[in-house]
Amino acid sequence: MVMIAFYFFAVLITLLFLVTVMSKNVLYAMTSLAAGMVLISGLFFILGADFLGAVQLIVYVGAVMALYSFAMMFFDMSKDVKEKNGSAATVFVLGGAIALMLVVVFSAPVIGQGVSSLYPEAAGATNPQAVGLVLFTKYLVPFEVAAVMLLVAMISGIILAGKKMDASLSTTEEEIPEMTQGGEK
């Protein structure tokens, strides 16, 4: 059963991502990306990482894809994109070679058996509970740093997309009056 589910997901995800990578149409690419991500959350559920699966759905399919679709509208890219992908051979040889390398590396035996887990899932806890336990003890600091990181991302997004960037102080001699003081937020 698990095997069938795995192969089902694996094949489907691979195909969808191939569409994302190869399609000329932004909409197709984005849709297949979103679909692939939904299916990946399926893999997480199979692996017993329920919390991760839920986060994957919420963050990726909810937030990230929403951002991308806004961007797509902003850039007005409903038509096919024209790209000059010069030498396809180089790309595929490089990609293929890296794939080969990763497959060879990962198909080698791992130390595995002898190692005991450092942070085992707490006995009797469900996965979200276990995640919570580890996240707010051991990984408290990274969690807070991630919060800072999201704040950074927010500020960056606001600044970069903001109106104040339209005229550049770095190339004009005179100060632009409304920009010398704070300006719009």
Binding site: T14, L33, M37, A49, Y68, G95, P120
Partner: protein
Amino acid sequence: MIGLGHYLILSGILFSIGLVGVLRRKNLLMLFFATEIMLNAVNIAFAAISNHYHDMAGQMFAFFVIAVAASEVAVGLGLLVILYKKYGTLDLDAYTVMRG
């Protein structure tokens, strides 16, 4: 039974698909899609290893990778907006002033 190896190989293949996307895409938005694929591929591997060792660290890693991916999208799109305003295109062949 599905072993760890299967997941890792799947992860490796998806990673390479993402890589191919990164290498061949000229449109920056599409290129960013491909980087998302790479990060997702890594997450599968982390979840699988976590499951294999019954260790939570892998899931934590994957969790933080998702957070990082979300932040990168915000910054990346901010950059794209400003580039689009200045250059009127997202084709990276247009950004080759600096070279040599």
